[in-house]
């Protein structure tokens, strides 16, 4: 479904992404594990086309089409979406508005169930604004609900667990699995091995490059043993 080939990004003369290759299959939850500063959010931005990031080399192929030069809207219309690590707040936009505009046509009457899937009571949240009155954790779960409502072909989730407490984390993981049951492929970007437990495969990112891909348990263990103790920050020894 998604094939990233030799992707490169240079910003101000610095190489941020260095020949990254990645394959995400149809119906796959693919985790990307990486320490801070390895390029995780940059990959999310490059695939979604956000933050004015445009690759300086390589290709991003989605369902056989090179999407590297498409706008964010055009990528979304092809079925890709992104849940931000720190989602935006929009004054005057209610949770109901947000989920409605995310949902497919004809399904806006079912939006309440997407809130329930991430453990939020619709009566308590539907008419609230997506503004500073929501906590970071609440906003993150609403972001997840809006992705669920969209039924994307590919959901990019950037650090979905950051700001989420331990009580809400299982609900969030359940939301990711539900997304997958609905038919979405998921690119799950995180620094937490716990979150990658729901993935089918996991890749390890270092210095803007995938250095290993494999089964979640083994790859997470490898990450723990090697990356968490690695003194070569952004200089892979492997």
């Amino acid at each position: 479904m998604l094939v990233v080939e030799n992707l490169q990004l240079k910003l101000n003369g610095n190489s941020i992404i260095n020949g990254l290759d990645l394959h995400v299959g149809k119906g796959e939850i693919h985790g990307i594990l990486g320490e801070n500063g390895t390029g995780k959010t940059t990959i999310a931005n490059l695939i979604m086309g956000t933050n004015n990031y445009r690759s300086t080399g390589g290709r991003i192929i989605f369902e056989g089409e090179d999407i590297s030069k498409l706008s964010v809207s055009e990528r979304a219309k092809r079925g890709i979406t992104l849940a931000w690590q720190e989602p935006a707040r929009v004054e005057g936009l209610t949770v109901r508005d947000y989920l409605s505009l995310s949902s497919k046509k004809g399904q806006s009457d079912r939006i309440e169930r997407y809130l329930l899937m991430v453990g939020m009571e619709p009566a308590q949240y539907m008419d609230r604004d997506i503004d500073a009155t929501l906590s970071g954790g609440e906003r993150k779960r609403i972001e997840m609900a809006s992705v669920l409502a969209m039924h994307p072909k590919l959901a990019i989730l950037d650090e979905p667990d950051s700001g989420i407490d331990i009580v809400a984390l299982p609900l969030l993981l359940n939301g990711i699995m539900e997304m997958n049951r609905q038919g979405s492929s998921v690119l799950l970007i995180t620094h937490s091995e716990r979150v990658t437990e729901v993935a089918h495969r996991v890749s390890i990112l270092c210095a803007g490059k995938i250095i290993s891909t494999g089964a979640p348990l083994e790859t997470s263990q490898w990450f723990k043993n090697n990356c968490l103790t690695c003194p070569h920050i952004n200089e892979p020894a492997y």
Binding site: A76, K77, T81, P87, V90, D97, S102, M150
Partner: protein, 318 residues
Amino acid sequence: MVRYSVEEEYKGMIDAYHKAGGDRRVLKSKDVAKLVVHENKVLANDGIKGLKIDTEETASGVSVNFTVEKGAKIERPVHLCFGLLPKEGLQEIIMKVDAQDDSEVSVVAHCIFPNAVRVIHKMDADINIGNNARFDYKETHYHGEDGGIEVIPKARVKVGKGGVWQSTFALSQGLVGRLDYDFEVFCQEKAVAELVVKAYGRGSDDIKILEKIYLEGKGARGMAKSRLVLSDKARAEVRGETYGNAPYARGHVDCMELVNGTEAVAVAIPIVSVTVDTAKVTHEAAIGSIDRKQVETLMARGLDENEAVDVIVRGILK
């Protein structure tokens, strides 16, 4: 100039209100207290128990005495509808409001100028909110796309002990034209005032907002809030002033102006003043472009860029 019969004027006002998104049943209902004025003619004046609306037609408009009797709690919102259907004209509304002690009322005012090419609409209001009285006032304007209108609302509001004044002025349908908004509120002990202005300036709209709150009584509270979005060559100047002149008074000035494009101009001038050491008045003013991350958040859900901007603007002005 085209002249209308009274029936045509009433029908025309209701139709224009409906086209602007209003519910025409409200203005037709006998159960709703309302005042409908076209140009200088009173087309409907339906009071309700506890509320008296006395009017006098003048050469250029209408003089209105609006009295909410002591202790009266008016359950359903009172609707005021002012407007001009012709392309040219002047409408001056002189308003005296007396919300007596312990009364409560919510007033929704619709100002309708769908065909304005050279129209002036002035309101001069002297408003007295009694002790422990509550007055909610929402004024929404519906203008056409010619922008040939000057809107000049001025109000001086006195809020008695424990009274509450909340007003919202919204102008986001059609071109603004020239707006010169000037409201000042004087709050006595434990009184509360909240002034909100929302406007969407486009074309060559010229917007001036002056919100002044004087916190004169102990524990009085006030907020002057404005939300403006400017596109094309629109200009806006917002002055939010709050004066904390009594012990434990609390005030806040909150101004946000978003500029969409390169030719619109936004100016914000907040003034906060405190003359008593236990009073506190704060302000925040932000002028900038529409947040790119907000736009991209909505684009990532499939909206085009213009649609995303429109959703954000409508949210700010809601």
